[in-house]
Symmetry: C2
Subunit: 346 residues, 2 copies
């Protein structure tokens, strides 16, 4: 018997590669995740992506605000070398005995498989390592969207004891920006020659990065890039609030130790365990408010008009407007309370 499975928890034990995941209940999946059965983990992540009826129960059981799992967002323009950097960080944390999770939502990333040039070679390096779990996210299908799925995948990987979890995104779409906000620490990866205009820096740096990584530091133009980054950071009045700027070369590995140190002191100098739990909880709750709120509003409109399309028809026919529908949605809770009170009075 593999030492990976605890005898006290039979269902997880019997769910090996030979057994049927179809017959599992929510509790079984919870155990599968906690025991880091990789095949089962993949299945649970797919269930979450596809909005499976058990997904919410599983997530409820796995959620633990006090769990320490460092989530590191890695963002920046395509071509900045995010994937190579991700690879270096995986190796670094593996050497230090950590199990590393990776969620890739960058369409240009070789991890998420979106690279049009098929640059998948680097992925192989860690594919056979059982201490590394890489998941690509592309499903925008169900209501929570890409950011809802990423939020849930993060909880699941954390529950399976992956720590840190790296989230690779590209700051282009709305979903990607939401996803970046899920991370504890965000690395903004920049390279010489790729939009190193002072103003580009201003926009990116102040909004996104906790640590600015100047990658490909062996390239010409690195001095200029660092100068303009620092010039932008000087616009942040409090020097202590300015993010550290780390030069590295993901290609050669130079500077990766310094980067890992910066990540470490970012967490250490920052907030305590309670504050992290508070922040994580608020993030997840806000994300769920967004997702379920949208579901509620749609359902109420469908209740009244039959479908969203019919509501739109009604607007086009001049019978109502989106603003009137907005008022009805706002008034709904008021009416609900009044109805309840009337119901009680009857």
């Amino acid at each position: 018997m593999s030492r990976k499975y605890r005898p006290a928890e039979p269902p997880a034990e019997v769910v090996g590669s030979e057994l049927d995941l179809q017959s599992c209940k929510a509790d079984d999946f919870v155990r599968i995740v906690r025991n880091n059965n990789q095949r089962g983990l993949s299945r649970v992540l797919s269930m979450v992506e596809n909005g499976h009826p058990l997904a919410s129960s599983i997530l409820h059981s796995l959620f633990d605000p006090e769990r320490l799992c460092l989530t590191i967002g890695i963002t920046g323009p395509p071509g900045a070398g995010k994937s190579t950097l991700t690879n270096r960080l995986i190796s670094y944390y593996r050497r230090h005995g950590n199990k590393v999770g990776v969620i890739a939502v960058d369409p240009s990333s070789p991890f998420s498989g979106g690279a049009l040039l098929g640059d998948r070679v680097r992925m192989q390096e860690h594919a056979s390592d059982p201490g590394v779990f890489i998941r690509s996210m592309a499903n925008r299908g169900h209501l929570g969207g890409l950011s809802g799925t990423t939020r849930d995948a993060l909880e699941i990987l954390a529950a399976a004891s992956y720590n840190p979890v790296l989230i690779e995104t590209m700051g282009v779409g709305q979903a990607e920006v939401e996803i970046a906000s899920l991370a504890d620490i965000t690395l903004l990866v920049l390279v010489p020659g790729l939009g190193d205009d002072v103003q580009t820096m201003k926009a990116g740096i102040m909004e996104i990065g906790d640590i600015i990584v100047l990658n490909k530091a062996d390239r010409p133009g690195i001095e200029q890039l660092e100068l303009s980054v620092n010039a932008s950071l000087e616009l942040i009045p409090d020097p202590a609030a300015r993010p550290p700027v780390i030069r590295c070369s993901a290609q050669t590995g130079e500077g990766i130790e310094e980067l890992a140190d910066a990540i470490g002191s970012c967490t250490a100098s920052g907030t305590g365990r309670k504050e992290i739990a508070l922040r994580r909880t608020a993030l997840v709750l806000n994300s769920i408010i967004r997702e379920k709120g949208r579901e509620l509003a749609r359902t109420l409109i469908i209740d009244r008009y039959g479908s969203i399309e019919e509501a739109i028809e009604s607007i086009l026919a001049g019978e109502t407007t989106p603003y009137r529908i907005g008022e009805i949605l706002s008034g709904f809770l008021k009416n609900k309370r009044e109805n309840e009170n009337e119901c009680k009075r009857d």
Copy 2:
């Protein structure tokens, strides 16, 4: 008496610079907007920004899905020359007799006043022209957020007969991406030397631009930029679906006519009046679903826990999880229906 005011509508008439806007009702504000009283218009836009109780009524009265108002989003990295281009387009449409509205939500734009270098000179050019109305948006305060405010400002400017309305944004934050999606046509402005990497192009072009504007076409590097843009566009399988690429120089005015023609044929060749009304209505309704849904979900949580903060406390205390709260929100409508049925049965 100014010919601007119609005698048949007394309240709008009396609301001049000397009169008190405080005493106006929703209908008065509707007339003020329709008559394009600029001081009143500013007031109504502020009411919308601040979530004034009358705002929703005013917007309901002003909404007209069939109104023809071309909304042109202008987006791109800071330094791409968006503001200079906006100025050129204002001049172009003014020469053709249009009243032009501008909503600036780009923090680096001189219109929105966010330019750290104080590049406000260009704004003066049109400030005294009564046929141009420029509004900067910065208020992220109320629930609808920046994109809700922009959506509403757009309706108001359209109702005041501004056509086209230019929306200047920078594709960085979540709100900015949402805002860009409100426009009928989006111009993605690129310049040589600013992130003209093939992959940056891929990301930006395919997601955002209906027309790709290569600004500062007199600069070195323009050939390379155009080559890499075209190479990226070739990834779109259907040649007819590829956005046109227009070279121009906002500084000298060269290419602006061609750009305006491209905008014109984009609208003409595209969809009919009905399709525009349908698209506009769906956009506004979706935006309201997002805004009101969030409000609904928050209210339900507050009903149950007292406040969002208390819900978070309860999660931190291990009494519930965000996922359980999500299930409660989902179950709410089901319960509501059951309660209503029980109420009827009583």
